[in-house]
């Protein structure tokens, strides 16, 4: 078996002597007999490293990664290419094996990186303050709503059905102990703003916040400016759930008056990783600064005036304020934040808009091709960024299942989350999808709809290592 304990027998003897015991067992003498296990743990015996690697390779081989197929699956997790430089930087063990930077003089590297990450998120969102990271978009949204409740002294929250269903589920679960359940607003291709207006009017006491996602779950682009006005007229905050990569093309939350921006930044240099660890982020307007959850890095100086970085405004945090803290968050997703920073620096000021437009053009192309097929119509019929939804003449789940056999992940069956949308397929197109792959997909989908699954070229593996 593998052994990470370094001591030789001589070391052990010398250390036991120094402690004044004859065996390690004696060190546990204060544990009452009644709560001792008294048998070995029922776990498989340890393995050597080569056996271990073989065991894990065997498990990995039982999976077919999306990256080895032609994938149009998105819905909150995107297979953008991750440049080698990202993994090279986050693989440096001075970062990867460090703790939360409590000793700033010895942790300047990570502190500066987080400061740079905060800056990048502020730039993307056009909001003045961003924290060091959250776990993911769902938990970041829950925290944003708690922040809004604390700030406004109100309890309700109005949430568009166009917000990712899982984010809404997390919001319901995590706020169960301290708020009323969210009030939904209907969403088709985009959120029904008349319904939003009506819901806000019906709520006697205004809600703490209105939540919309841009682009929404179906890929549609919301009129955030109008939603912002409605929210603010009701005395509520506007919480915008955004994909940071879309902000290369789309108006940033600060410009349309969002008070809080949260979202999933897996699209910034993150692997798919079967859903985690991803990267939640949160940026807020200035008046909300002291209610922000999580770590914040600030710039300061040492006694000689040299620039340095420290964790700051810690009186918001659990290790100082305990039950009065703004959140319980302690560990965050700092290494994912570093990956996002490296990715954004790699893309840079020109690359981010270029990539965003490339995705939008590819998505527009595929939507146009798909909606030429008999019986296929655009569910998301307005402008889109990287993702859109189409209505199929057959249940989307069955069509997607048929296409898997031909090497395509067709997209997400919206019926998985929405009653009555069993025939809606949510399709994402990253820069990795070529025109040839999209054309093959259109042919295969046409074949599947016609009941002829042999139609469509057997696809080339996109990435299979």
């Amino acid at each position: 078996m593998t052994d990470f304990v370094p001591h030789s027998d001589d070391d052990l003897r010398a250390m036991l002597d120094a402690v004044g015991v004859s065996s390690t067992a004696e060190l546990f003498s204060e544990i009452p007999d009644g709560v001792r296990l008294g048998r070995p743990l029922d776990l498989p015996a340890g393995l050597s490293e080569s056996e271990l690697f073989a065991d894990l390779e065997r498990l990995a081989a039982q999976n077919t990664p999306a990256t080895s197929l032609i994938s149009f699956l998105g819905a909150g997790a995107y297979d953008h290419y991750v440049p080698a430089v990202v993994d090279a930087v986050i693989g440096r063990s001075e970062f990867a094996t460090s703790y939360t930077p409590y000793q700033p003089e010895r942790s300047q590297g990570m502190l500066q990186a987080i400061f740079e990450f905060q800056t990048a998120i502020c730039e993307l969102t056009a909001l003045p303050v961003a924290n060091a990271s959250m776990y993911d978009a769902g938990t970041a949204l829950a925290e944003a709503v708690m922040l809004a409740c604390a700030h406004t002294g109100r309890t309700g929250v109005v949430v568009s059905d166009g917000v990712h269903p899982e984010y809404r589920q997390v919001l319901c679960t995590e706020t169960a102990g301290c708020g009323s359940p969210p009030t939904p607003v209907a969403c088709g291709a985009v959120t029904d703003l008349e319904s939003l207006r009506a819901v806000l009017q019906e709520m006697g006491a205004g809600p703490a916040a209105v939540v919309l996602q841009q682009p929404n779950f179906f890929g549609g682009l919301e009129d955030m400016q109008a939603a912002s006005a409605l929210a603010h007229d009701a005395g509520a905050l506007l919480i915008a759930v955004v994909d940071p990569l879309s902000l290369g093309l789309l108006a940033p939350p600060g410009e349309y008056g969002a008070d809080v921006a949260v979202g999933e930044a897996q699209s910034l240099g993150g692997h798919l990783d079967f859903g985690g660890p991803y990267l939640g982020f949160m940026a807020v307007a200035e008046p909300l600064l002291r209610r922000l959850p999580g770590r914040l890095v600030g710039e300061t100086v040492d006694a000689q005036g040299r620039r340095g970085f420290v964790l700051t405004l810690q009186t918001r945090e659990q290790h100082i304020r305990r039950e009065k803290a703004t959140s319980n968050i302690c560990s965050n997703h700092a290494l994912n934040a570093l990956a996002a920073l490296v990715y954004l620096s790699w893309l840079g000021k020109q690359g981010l808009p270029e990539l965003a437009v490339l995705c939008a053009r590819k998505a527009a192309y595929l939507r146009a091709r798909l909606t030429q097929l008999p019986g296929v119509t655009a569910f998301t019929d307005g402008p889109v960024f990287r993702e859109f939804a189409v209505r199929l003449p057959r249940p989307a789940a069955a069509v997607a299942a048929a296409l898997v056999e031909q090497g395509f992940l067709a997209g997400l069956d919206a019926g998985r989350f929405y009653d009555g949308l069993d025939d809606v397929l949510v399709v994402a197109v990253t820069e990795r999808r070529t025109r040839a792959e999209m054309d093959a997909f259109v042919d295969a989908l046409a074949g599947a709809l016609a009941g002829d699954t042999s139609v469509g070229q057997p696809p080339q593996a996109a990435h299979d290592d």
């Binding site: 370094p6 204060e30 743990l41 690697f53 390779e57 300047q108 730039e123 990783d273 968050i329 990539l355």
Partner: protein, 492 residues
């Protein structure tokens, strides 16, 4: 001074390369109307790839990880993170999986998850595990919401959670997030939860109790069985903060002590890297009575042997996060447990406790020892004796940096003045422990000889002691740019 990546930016430089557009290049106005578009690009850095690599490599040299040296942060279990974990997590068969792929294509991943659930349940001495929580604090919130759902199902709504005064700050913060009121209970002369005080606060209004055992003083609470019985007698549940699990694996299981809910910090106990703050994972194990309330989806084995997700759990609290868990982290935890097996894990705990006791024996004469008992995997001493030289625990910590030793946790737990909380972990060699002992002895000698050496420490780092008060008073939380418009708040 190191420039930021934004300051290194030069207009027109680039690292990126993108595929050529192979579809019609629709004009922007036809893609997205101007009103929805961004007018001004975000001021992201413009740098060559080598610029980037040099920048981040330089930052890494200004950082410190377990691979750099010993990291005896009490309560944080900064053990070695085996390299095989990272190699395995990077296998495309794990890393390339989309969370919404059909289950037939992810059977290996689901097998790994259900196996890890079973192993963690065994280590905890409980019946079932959820892998969803992203971190220890997130596990706490999950556990407390389970308590709430459990009590509600019995038609009860008790409001209070008992927490000892030695608890981690996350405990009371999680209690409030879950909609409960924390109720603090003091410690007795042996550093254990005061049974008398506990009895005095127990009532029908108590939903449960949160405890770490060994506690944050590094002491095993010998009355745990009695505590559990008292809490169960008022229909309360017991939550085990597993931050200190590294002391007792295979020796004493929380479930056997009477706990009903246990979280593990995989980034502490199971060797997954802490990443400069995360990501970690905070899976929780529970007793059978709580299984119906676990977050969804759960993985179920079908009659044909295949594994599937199901959310058909009407009493579930719901989802605690997007998707299923920090899978990339959980792969590493699985790999670690598989490498060591049950015997290996027990040895981990034995050596973790031996190493802590060895350092304790080597330094206990230097400090006040608040509780003169055998310590477990960590110990707490008070640096109060240094006050006579005008120096505090903080100064000692900063001076340790001059000896190239990462300082221990300071000022925690709160009930010990000038606390130093030292946790060497099992992966440190005797020489490494001897260096820590020698450094602590040298710093205490420095304090007597020349306290200024401590007060002005550190001296050999890339920066000296930083002005944290100034940082909080005038927060500068982002880079400013030459073209920023001056506004009263300093932000556009």
């Amino acid at each position: 001074m190191t420039e930021t990546i934004f300051e290194r930016s030069r207009p027109g430089r680039r690292a990126y390369s993108l595929p050529a557009c192979d579809v019609p290049e629709l004009p922007l106005d036809e893609l997205v109307p101007e009103a929805l578009r961004r007018a001004v690009p975000a001021r992201l850095p413009e740098a060559s790839e080598l610029d980037l690599v040099r920048h981040f490599t330089e930052l890494s040299t200004r950082n410190y990880g377990v691979d750099s040296g010993m990291y005896p942060l009490g309560s944080c279990t900064m053990k070695y993170n085996p390299k095989i974990n990272d190699r395995v997590a990077a296998l495309e068969g794990f890393r390339g999986l989309h969370p919404y792929q059909p289950e037939e294509l992810v059977q290996g991943a689901l097998e790994l998850m259900v196996t890890l659930e079973r192993w963690l349940s065994e280590i905890a001495g409980l019946d079932a595990t959820t892998l969803q929580p992203a971190a220890g604090a997130h596990g706490e919130l999950t556990g407390l919401l389970l308590m709430r759902a459990y009590h509600a199902a019995q038609g009860r709504s008790p409001r209070r959670i008992i927490i000892p005064d030695t608890a981690h700050g996350t405990n009371p913060a999680s209690v409030v997030m879950a909609g409960y009121e924390p109720l603090a209970v003091g410690s007795d002369a042996r550093g254990e939860m005061s049974i008398d005080e506990l009895r005095s606060v127990l009532s029908d209004d108590v939903a449960g109790l949160m405890l770490t055992n060994p506690n944050t003083l590094g002491l095993f609470d010998e009355h745990i069985v009695e505590i559990a019985a008292l809490v169960h007698d008022v229909a309360g549940l017991l939550y085990y903060d597993g931050a200190n699990s590294n002391a007792v694996m295979g020796i004493s299981r929380p479930g056997d002590m009477g706990f009903d809910i246990v979280h593990f910090n995989t980034h502490k106990t199971f060797s997954t890297p802490h990443g400069g703050g995360g990501p970690g994972a905070g899976p929780i194990a529970v007793r059978d009575i709580l299984v119906p309330f676990l977050p969804t989806p759960v993985i179920e084995r079908q009659a044909d042997g295949g594994l599937r997700f199901t959310s058909d759990r009407p009493q579930s609290i719901g989802k605690m996060r997007t998707f299923y868990g920090n899978f990339g982290v959980l792969v590493r935890a699985y790999t670690y447990i598989r490498a060591l097996g049950g015997e290996g894990l027990r040895q981990v705990s034995e050596i973790a406790v031996l190493n802590a006791n060895y350092v304790f024996a080597g330094v206990s004469d230097l400090f006040d020892v608040p509780y003169d008992r055998r310590c477990m995997h960590e110990f707490v001493v008070s640096a109060s004796p240094l006050k006579e030289h005008g120096v505090r625990a903080l100064d000692l910590a900063k001076r340790l940096l001059d000896y190239d030793v990462h300082p221990p946790t300071t000022y925690f737990p709160l009930i010990v003045p000038e606390a130093l909380m030292i946790e060497p972990t099992e992966t440190e060699s005797k020489e490494s422990l001897d260096r820590l002992i020698a450094a602590l002895r040298a710093v205490v000698a420095d304090a007597a000889r020349d306290p200024e050496l401590l007060l002005s420490a550190p001296h050999d780092m890339v920066v000296g002691r930083l002005d944290e008060v100034g940082a909080a008073r005038h927060p500068v939380l982002r880079q400013t740019f030459p073209d920023d418009l001056p506004t009263p708040e300093g932000d556009a």
